[in-house]
Each structure stands twice: as structure tokens, then as C-alpha cells.
Symmetry: C2
């Protein structure tokens, strides 16, 4: 197993466990005492020396204990950590009442997660990639304003107010409504092609510009827009001395506040084909430079038919991986519940 005998593994695990707990480098004596190996500190030292040579641990300076390296953490996560594999409930059905409501749920989720884990958190809104048009309706608000309401199959509702140069009478509005619905119903954006658009405009008889604007709104609703990302608990990083010096904290919080860079994390996480949907980035494994001193654990949640989003936890490398991964699994199932309730 990667050049490690059983004893080395035990020692490595002990080192990591302790370090996770205290955040302090751990020395040979501590290990000798707190482990059931019944070895002297000297022996442990020898083993530690080996482990260092193999790259699993490093010493911050000559006479401190050792701390896990990225490789060490990686080993821990991959081999040592066996989470109690809770059954992941299959979430299939869901209805979303409102995009706005969705907002609040996600915000709340991020907040709760931050509070319970004591780490910084992020959550991306689900990506409605292949979503289809369910219903379109135009109505005149007053002489110059036309309201377009577009409902997608996922029940995402989009509104757009179009300012007209001259009013449309009721009959025309009705005609356009029929035209739009009969043509676009059940189509996803990839199925709406140029030919169809020009045909539509033609049939609209002089109101081609309106059709154009409406179609733009439709496109906007369906488009692979970069998903919204919500963060919370940024200030939790101050709880970990190794991250809270002015420089690092500032950078970190900035990336959390700006959100933009987090998109890389989201798409990376979404594109991965992990069975469990959980992904762990340790230090430089993360696509985000400013997080090189952190670990990031992400999970994918899925609300049926390819509608996916990402939840993530950002903390120090010595984060409690076990707890975090469990929380995330738990959460994904809870999300199911939340969205189901929203549909009634």
C-alpha cells in the first residue's frame, strides 16, 4: 500500500487525527503515548523520519513535530476515512414554486451549514440545462408596455416588460400568444433554431421585433447562465489561526465575496464523475489559487432530470473531513425534502 506497512499507516493516521484536533504539529512522544502501539518515542521517530521521506508529513521547522502534507491528507481521505455510508436518498420529483423562493432556500442552506460546521460554505443554484418551455403569455399592461411571462417546465418563471412604440390591440396579442405557444411549447433552447425564428417573425406580421424581444427573454431564461452562488460563514475562517492572518484572510474572504472564482469550483465539481458526488480538494488541488492553504469539500445535489447544483465547504486543511463529508451527504438528502415540501 504505497510503500507503507501497517505500522506506518497507524502512525500516519495518529498524526493526522491529532493534528486535525489541535492544529499543532505533533511530536514523537505524543504519538508514543496516545497510541496502542506500545513503542518508544525513538522508534516512532524513526518511522516518522521514513514517513517524511515518503512525503506524507513535513516538519514546519527542525525542532517542531510533524504535520501532514497534502499527500498525507490525500492518503487519509482516500484510504483511512471510511464514512458511515448513509444511504443517499434518490431525489427524483421536485417542483420549484418560484425562483425567488429558491434564492432564500439556498441562502438559508448555506447559512445553516456554516453554522453547524464552523467552516465557510457555498452553494450554487441548480443549473437547468435542458429545460423546456412550458407556457408563454403576453399581455398589455398599458398603452406602451407589454408584459411577457415565460414559464419553463421546471416552473421557473421569467418576466420581461417590453416597451412598444404603438399599442397592440387585444386581438393581436391573442394571436401572438397562440403563435408563440403553439410553436415553442415543449422545446428546449437548442431546439429553437434560426429557421424557426425567422418563420415566427414572418407569421407575426409586422410584429417581428416583439417576437425577437420575447425570444431573447426566453433564451435568457434557459441559457446556461452561470449559476448564482451563495456563500456564508466567511468569518468562520478566523477561527483557524493558520488562515487568519490579515493577508490570507483578506484574500480568502475576497474570493468568497466576489463569488466569481467559485464558479470554477462548481463546474469542476459538477463535471466530476465521482460515484458519491463528493469531491475533496486539498490545498493546491483546488482550481482556486487563493485556497491553496485550505481544503474544499464539494458535493453535488441533483433535483431530478439533470438539474444539478453544488454545495461546498471551505476550511483549513485540517478540517474534520469525516464530519464534513457526512454533513454534506446528509444535506443532499435534506435538500430533497425541502424542495418536495415547497411543491405542495
Amino acid at each position: 500500500m504505497d510503500g507503507l506497512d501497517e505500522r506506518k499507516v497507524k502512525i500516519l493516521e495518529a498524526i493526522i487525527r491529532m493534528y486535525l484536533d489541535t492544529g499543532e504539529p505533533v511530536g514523537s512522544r505524543t504519538i508514543a503515548k496516545d497510541t496502542d502501539l506500545n513503542l518508544s518515542s525513538a522508534t516512532i521517530r524513526n518511522e516518522m523520519s521514513d514517513l517524511e521521506e515518503l512525503g506524507y508529513i513535513t516538519a514546519p521547522h527542525t525542532s517542531a513535530g510533524r504535520i501532514p502534507s497534502d499527500k498525507g491528507y490525500r492518503f487519509y481521505v482516500d484510504h483511512l476515512l471510511q464514512t458511515k455510508d448513509k444511504e443517499i436518498s434518490d431525489m427524483k420529483e421536485f417542483v420549484i414554486e418560484h425562483t425567488e423562493k429558491m434564492d432564500q432556500v439556498l441562502r438559508q442552506v448555506a447559512k445553516m451549514l456554516a453554522k453547524t460546521t464552523n467552516y465557510a460554505t457555498m452553494i450554487s443554484s441548480p443549473k437547468y440545462s435542458g429545460s423546456k418551455v412550458k407556457f408563454i403569455q403576453l399581455s398589455m399592461l398599458d398603452e406602451t408596455q407589454l408584459l411577457a411571462v415565460i414559464v419553463m417546465e421546471t416552473n421557473v418563471v421569467k418576466n420581461k416588460i417590453i416597451v412598444l412604440k404603438q399599442p397592440l390591440d387585444n386581438e393581436e396579442v391573442f394571436r401572438l400568444n397562440v403563435l408563440l405557444n403553439s410553436t415553442l411549447n415543449g422545446l428546449s433552447i437548442s431546439e429553437i433554431n434560426l429557421g424557426m425564428i425567422s418563420r415566427l417573425k414572418e407569421q407575426a406580421g409586422g410584429h417581428g421585433d416583439i417576437i425577437g424581444t420575447v425570444l431573447d427573454a426566453v433564451a435568457e431564461s434557459i441559457r446556461q447562465e452561470e449559476p448564482e452562488i451563495y456563500t456564508s460563514g466567511a468569518t468562520n475562517i478566523f477561527k483557524y489561526p493558520e488562515l487568519s492572518d490579515s493577508q490570507k484572510a483578506s484574500e480568502l474572504i475576497y474570493t468568497l465575496e466576489e463569488k466569481q472564482q467559485l464558479a470554477a469550483l462548481v463546474s469542476d465539481s459538477l463535471s466530476s464523475e465521482e460515484e458519491t458526488g463528493i469531491q475533496v480538494y486539498i490545498g493546491n488541488e483546488s482550481p482556486i489559487q487563493t485556497m491553496k492553504d485550505c481544503s474544499v469539500v464539494t458535493a453535488t445535489y441533483e433535483l431530478g432530470e439533470g438539474v444539478k447544483g453544488t454545495v461546498g465547504i471551505i476550511g483549513p486543511k485540517r478540517m474534520d473531513y469525516e464530519k464534513v463529508m457526512d454533513s454534506l451527504k446528509e444535506l443532499t438528502t435534506q435538500l430533497d425534502g425541502i424542495f418536495k415540501k415547497k411543491s405542495t
Copy 2:
């Protein structure tokens, strides 16, 4: 003038100006040199001693220079600062296409402002207090789902999906639409009373529950909901050493992240009857405890007919009040432009 002769005022001003610039306590020699008073440092010292006694400045310790006290800053803002009074454009007309779009504009504004000022910023979404119903429309999405679209006079659009036990036929939907529009059109929430509601339900003939849900949605649209607050540039506070120790930074950023407490600031600022709409909170004058080491400058923007919001800048006490106040004035006029453009 508050027990200050002209010379004292000049010295006080010099102290504040310098301190704003450097963030360091300023001593008598510096003043003696950098001022056109042609006095020796000893004289300045005497005057400074007086100023300290009067409470305008304090010494952080025996042998440092002096820094302005809250009272000193207050004097500066009230008497010494005469901003070039740019004409505040009267913003009357406006149209808002989308609540969602609104989001983005506000977010963007906060961001820009943070970038140009190098302080943390916040902006509250406008409060549509007395807004009236312009248009209501119900439509069936499928057998069980009814979509209610509510448009307010400010062009805020609200959607609500109502799940039905049994389908409504087109005729009934039409009837309900007419009923709702003819009854509610042009009314604000305070004008929709219980009598009207029960009458409506009665006329709805068996669909009272639907009316109820729709009315709830209407109420939700108009309600004095606490406005959304957007913040940006939280990490700017790290640029000011006096705010960036772990403890203070954490607290500050937390209040910015949580937003909730900022509501106090918004309502305080909105309720004030300052002529210019600009409000300055120095240190403990702010309603928010965690900002006792900061100053906050807020401005009210108004988009016609009592629709108001607040923009704020949060920085160290030694913030560049002049620049900040100008920026805010400038911004309020710009906001006008932005919202006007959105309407075309």
C-alpha cells in the same frame, strides 16, 4: 463657535486632515511645519492641550501625537467640510423592468462604489411602500397548476404558482381575472380591507380559496418587506490597519455578511429628515455596535413617489469624508440615469 477661536479651529482642522491622510497620530512639530500659522511647536502644543481638554482630540498615549475624537470628527463634518454643493438632480420618472434586473444593478452599484472608494459599501433595495396594483392575471399551466402574475404600478412583477385540487376551465379563469382586476386595480395594500376580501371570495363562487392565495401573493408583493441589502468590498477594511486586527475584522465582516443588522442603519437613515439626504455616523453614533470603530456615511436615493432606498459607505473614522460625500451625491444622480435607461 463652541469655545474655539479661529486659530484653534485651524489647528484642529490641520490635525484632522493629516490624520485622515496618514492614519498616524499627529504631533505638534508636524503641525507647526505644515501649516501657514507660523507658530512654534510649543505654541501649538499649548493649543493642542486646550483642544484636548475641550474634547476634540485625544492622545492614544502620553507620548504620541493627537488623533481626533468622535467629537472632533463631528465638528469637522459639521463645520469644516463644505462640499462643493453639486446640484442634486431631481429624479422623478423611472421604470423598473424586472425585480431580478434590479438585483443586478444594485449589486453592481455596490461593487463599483466599493472599488472607487476603497471602503466597504452597502445598498438597500428601494422600499415600495405605497405601491398600487396595476394588473393581475391568472392562467392555467396544466391540470393542477395555476400561475398568478401580479404587476405593481412600479412595474415590479411577482409570480406565484398555485397548486389546485381540481382544474379550472378557461371560462372560470377568465371570470376570476375580470373579477380580480376590476376590484383591485389601482388599490394599494392599505386599501384592500377585510370587507372587500370577503366580498371577492363570495363573488368567486366556490373558488374562494384561490382568491385567498392570490391575495396573499398580492400582499406579499406590496408588503413592507424588509428591503434586500447588498454589500460589497468588505475586504477593503483590511486596508486600514486600525480595523484589521483579527477580532475587529471578523466582527465587521460578519455584520456585513449577515446584513441583518444593517437594516437598522437603513431605516435610521431613511427616517432622518436631512435636507441633503446624507447622514454621517461617527463611531458610537451608529446604531450598530460592531461599527463603533468605524464611520458610516449613508445617502438616500429616491426614485419618485416615495420609493426610497439607502446607500452606505463603511470605513474607518479617518475616512475621506469629503470624497465619500461627493461620491454619494454623484451616485444618487447616476442611479437616476440608470433606472431611466432601463425603462427604454
